[in-house]
């Protein structure tokens, strides 16, 4: 600003215009820069918050630590990754959309890039071993479950560091609670979750602390151990302008990869660098992972173009999950595959499955009739979609809670397409005659027609196939395609009739029922005190109870399930709830993909077992590496027409 002034000062002759220019120039400057000028330091505010909530934030000394704790450190677990992994190289990837922000929470933060800088990368106190499901140490060296079953005691690894060299301490976890509960972050989910799921954090010394959860579930320890520290020193400027102030700041990470600030070309590309002297680089379970030095992301908006870029060798890997890609766009007899330049791999995994299916809004006219719902079950030909559209690659879901091991129901299966049975059920609901177009009508001339909406553009073809098949059973599906946000909004407002969607399932021990089936998530007051249905109940919006499912019996089971601290009992309850849900017929289980498949250039190497049992995608666990010498050799060979053994590999060691 001063510089602009002096410059114009010399041009005194052009008085008025110059003055105007200066003014506008200054105005421009002001609009861009003021954020960095007023310094915020929230230390006092945070300390005051701790003091005001002394029940939650407790400070004790190391002598207060119970001495009867049995410390665990996840020993004896096989190491993850492959000792053959080579470090180095650059991996080239594509992004469909440039990240709208580098924040990991708050508005616009929930994009695909978040998993690259947070979900898949940030270190947690401990991790689930991806083959064994048991916990292995991360930031915590040891942990112990207290005698109350709700408190987890933790000892941080003294070597744990943020990428800027600051050590990770108990303070970062104290700060985390303040941060997540703060209104500044404009993230209500975090505000709510961190206020209700945890009841206490106690500091014993710099590296020792404990966190208490609200209920003592069998996996109470993992609710604590999955927590990621928030760097107190970096976020000390968090205040009312958090959203703008931290929009493009690169937060220090405890993980292996950090955004390279100089590489940010907004709208075009961004890169991650492997942290130099990463504190966990020689630790068990981490030393053979996160192998590439640099990951370069380029924005390519069109899916087809991304694939073409991969075919050209500009990108190292490409997902081939869709049948179209695996069988047609990169078939086994493709020249590059046959020459061994591009490898194709299929890996069968085991983990909780996203419950993609049809969610019926039981508060809607006709759908409140169980026979109509069951008729829709029998009128929905998922098997045809799986066999002929997905080419038999996918598998029919059995319930809404598949893939949770013993918690998933052992015998329940989804109802199969059956026109006769569908017609029987529809007839029971009063739909006996077919109209001129073959769609059933009831006595009062009402057509049996429902709007089937979805926010997944890729499901358009699936819905049109289901529509054609449903018409045979006399029910009309009106397909409504929405964009992702609009679709989500629609079901959250409970405006849907039937919606095709699935909830992503985390790697958890047991499924969640309260979110989807508790009556408090369906209506404000679902039942009256005497247990009868409240005639004046109002729909509750913004919940995940997409079926508006309300049953006193289910509520009771859910409460017992939530309160239960015994795994066998919980399993039994889970099965009972799944049976109940199955009987109500308000959810038609769809399909799941029991594998993932990728095409990767020859220089992208994977361990001999490819990846671990619970992995969600090929790149998720960062067990692969880039062999730069091999890349050079392969490109040279390709130029000279030299070929290699083709590699189409199927890893079915975890196929069930």
């Amino acid at each position: 600003m001063a510089l602009i002034f002096s410059k114009h000062y010399r041009l005194k002759g052009l008085l008025s215009t110059a003055a105007l220019l200066i003014l506008t120039a200054c105005g421009g400057e002001d609009a861009n820069a003021p954020l960095s000028e007023d310094v915020i330091d929230n230390t006092e505010e945070v300390q005051a918050y701790y003091a005001a909530n002394s029940g939650f934030f407790a400070f004790k000394t190391i002598e207060d630590l119970p001495d009867d704790l049995s410390w665990q450190s996840g020993e004896g677990m096989p190491e993850m990754g492959s000792p053959n992994a080579k470090k180095g190289g650059t991996e080239y990837r594509a992004l469909q959309d440039f990240p709208r922000t580098l924040r990991t929470l708050g508005p616009d933060s929930n994009g695909g890039f978040r998993s690259e800088i947070w979900d898949d990368v940030a270190m947690r106190l401990a991790f689930r071993h991806q083959d064994e499901f048991d916990l292995v140490p991360g930031l915590a060296r040891e942990w112990a479950l207290g005698s109350d079953g709700r408190t987890t005691y933790l000892r941080l690894d003294p070597e744990a560091r943020f990428s800027d060299g600051e050590p990770v301490t108990a303070d970062d976890y104290f700060f985390m609670f303040w941060f997540y509960r703060s209104p500044y972050i404009t993230a209500p989910w975090y505000n709510n979750y961190y206020s209700t799921m945890y009841t206490n954090i106690t500091r014993y010394d710099d590296l020792t602390f404990s966190i208490t959860t609200t209920s003592g579930k069998p996996d109470a320890d993992s609710k604590v151990l999955e927590l990621v520290p928030i760097a107190e020193h970096f976020y000390k400027e968090v205040g009312p302008d958090f959203v703008e102030r931290y929009q493009w700041r690169v937060a220090p990470t405890t993980g292996a990869y950090l955004v390279e600030s100089s590489s940010i070309k907004k709208g075009r590309s961004i890169a991650l660098n492997r942290v130099k002297d990463w504190w966990a680089k020689d630790k068990k379970h981490y030393r053979y992972r996160y192998n590439t030095d640099r990951i370069q992301f380029t924005v390519i908006r069109d899916t087809e173009k991304i694939f073409e870029a991969f075919r050209r060798g500009d990108l190292d890997q490409s997902s081939l999950n869709l049948a179209e890609y695996w069988y047609e766009k990169l078939p086994n007899d493709n020249a590059d595959v046959q020459a061994g330049y591009i490898h194709k791999s299929v890996f069968y995994n085991q983990r909780p499955r996203p419950n993609i299916g049809l969610w019926m809004n039981t508060s809607r006219h006709l759908l409140d009739n169980k026979d109509v719902r069951l008729g829709i079950h029998y009128a929905t030909n998922w098997q045809l979609v799986i066999d002929q559209f997905f080419r038999g690659d996918y598998t029919r879901l059995k319930t809404a809670e598949d893939g949770f091991g013993e918690f998933s129901h052992p015998t329940l299966v989804a109802r199969q397409y059956n026109v006769e049975k569908a017609l029987e059920h529809f007839a029971k609901a009063g739909f006996t005659e077919r109209g001129a177009d073959g769609i059933l009508v009831n006595g009062s001339g009402e057509r049996l027609a429902f709007t089937v909406s979805t926010g997944y553009q890729t499901m358009k073809d699936v819905l049109t196939i289901l529509k054609e098949e449903a018409a045979k059973a006399g029910v009309d599906f009106r397909v409504e395609m929405l964009d992702g946000t609009a679709g989500w909004k629609k079901v959250q407002e409970k405006q849907h009739e039937i919606h095709l969607a699935g909830f992503g399932a985390f790697l958890e021990m047991y499924p969640r029922f309260w979110e989807h089936f508790a009556s408090v998530n369906a209506y404000d007051v679902a039942f009256l005190d005497d247990g009868s249905v409240n005639p004046q109940r109002k729909l509750k919006t913004q919940t995940n109870n997409l079926e508006v499912y309300a049953s006193a019996e289910m509520d009771e089971l859910i409460n017992r399930y939530r309160a239960s601290e015994d795994k066998t009992q919980m399993t039994e309850l889970a099965h009972k709830m799944q049976e109940l849900h199955h009987q109500s017929g308000s959810y038609v289980p769809g399909f799941y993909q029991g594998f993932f498949r990728v095409g990767h250039w020859r220089w992208v190497k994977y361990p001999e077992f490819f990846t671990h049992k619970h992995a969600n995608g090929a790149g998720q666990l960062y067990v692969h590496w880039i062999d730069s010498d091999l890349k050079k050799a392969t490109l040279q060979a390709r130029k000279e027409g030299e070929t290699f053994e083709p590699a189409i590999r199927v890893y079915d060691q975890w196929k069930n």
């Binding site: 179209e324 766009k329 073959g438 553009q457 073809d461 049109t464 054609e468 009106r478 397909v479």
Partner: protein, 355 residues
């Protein structure tokens, strides 16, 4: 008896002389007639079924359940299979199918996978199938029909509104003109595409598909009539100041009579020449909207949707994009040729540099 005036007859003669436009016009007429009776040519329903001595004409009637023809299901008969069955049974029953025995909605892969299948005479998929094994020719056929009907209705409405408002502005002038011009300026600055997207996001899908298409049409008309008013306004202004209008006024002709008997016939040339180009723009607009996914609701057959599929499967199923693209090119070229010819035949200067 209605008679054209000699001027118009001359123009029509001239139009016939411009062969390219004239044949395009005939082609379009034939196409419209064919499309109007499309159900007889492209349909999964049989033209004629002879069953146990009785004749059935299922094309335009209510559906026939399988039980009508001795089959064991209550949903619509699959006439293709019925035909095979009757042929095997040799019991004197027979089925006559249309040339293209598929409707645009059914997934028919002849027992195989739902994926794009190349054109095949044997399967009677003459242009192949799309990504869910629907017949492309059938989708193209009905897609074109919808696009054409849509654009014609669109043009009629744009003309009605554009002419009335434009004419009124030009004829009455003064404050009325001034105010309306401002309104139109503001109105025409509202971005049309965004409006379509916004309005379409709030229309409930529970409406029947024809009414949703109607709403789309309404929105498009709502934001497209303004262009027409400019031409009409200037033309009317021009004509209004001519001597013959002044003469008519002196004789005591009413405003209505002057507008309808004197001004409108004289600005006809402008109106007619513009018409084909509005049709073209309507077809392009609806195709573009479909391509972007904001147009006709699925599974309505449409050119834009086929183009979209085609661009996604350029390498693996080039026949999709080839058919959709050719159809669009032919349609737009034909309409443009007609437009060119009309413009030329209505041009008072026979020998013009703009030829």
């Amino acid at each position: 008896m209605f008679r054209f005036n000699p001027q118009t007859l001359k123009k029509l003669r001239r139009f016939r002389q411009i062969k390219r436009g004239y044949y395009s016009f005939l082609f379009l007429l034939v196409l419209l007639v064919v499309l109007a009776f499309g159900e007889l040519l492209v349909n999964s329903r049989a033209l004629l079924v002879s069953y146990q001595g009785e004749y059935f004409l299922p094309t335009y009637t209510a559906f026939h359940p399988g039980t009508d023809f001795g089959l064991n299901y209550s949903y619509e008969v699959n006439y293709r299979e019925l035909k095979k069955l009757f042929a095997e049974q040799r019991s004197g029953n027979w089925v006559l199918m249309p040339i293209v025995p598929y409707n645009p909605y059914e997934n028919n892969s002849n027992g195989g996978l739902f994926k794009p299948n190349p054109p095949s005479l044997e399967n009677q998929h003459y242009l192949g199938t799309d990504t869910t094994s629907r017949d492309i020719l059938s989708r193209l056929f009905y897609g074109t029909r919808i696009a054409l009907v849509f654009s014609i209705v669109f043009t009629v409405w744009v003309y009605l509104i554009g002419i009335s408002v434009g004419c009124a502005m030009g004829y009455f002038g003064g404050v009325f003109d001034l105010i309306f011009q401002r309104i139109i300026e503001i109105w025409s600055n509202i971005p049309f595409l965004y409006m379509v997207i916004i309005v379409f996001s709030v229309i409930p899908a529970s409406l029947a598909i024809p009414s949703r298409i109607g709403i789309l049409l309404f929105i498009m008309v709502l934001f497209s009539w303004t262009g027409m008013t400019y031409n009409m306004r200037t033309e009317t202004y021009k004509e209004k100041s001519r001597d013959y209008i002044a003469a008519a006024r002196i004789i005591g002709a009413s405003d209505t009579r002057i507008i309808f008997r004197h001004i409108l016939p004289n600005v006809l040339a402008t109106l007619v020449t513009l018409m084909p180009f509005i049709v073209v723009s309507a077809i392009s607009a609806i195709t573009a909207l479909d391509f972007l996914g904001f147009g006709l609701p699925p599974p309505t057959p449409s050119l834009g949707e086929l183009l979209k599929q085609g661009t996604a499967t350029l390498r693996t199923a080039p026949w999709i994009v080839a058919s959709a693209f050719s159809a669009l090119v032919v349609l737009l070229t034909v309409v443009t040729f007609i437009g060119e010819a009309i413009r030329e035949s209505f041009d008072p200067k026979k020998f013009t540099v703009y030829r």
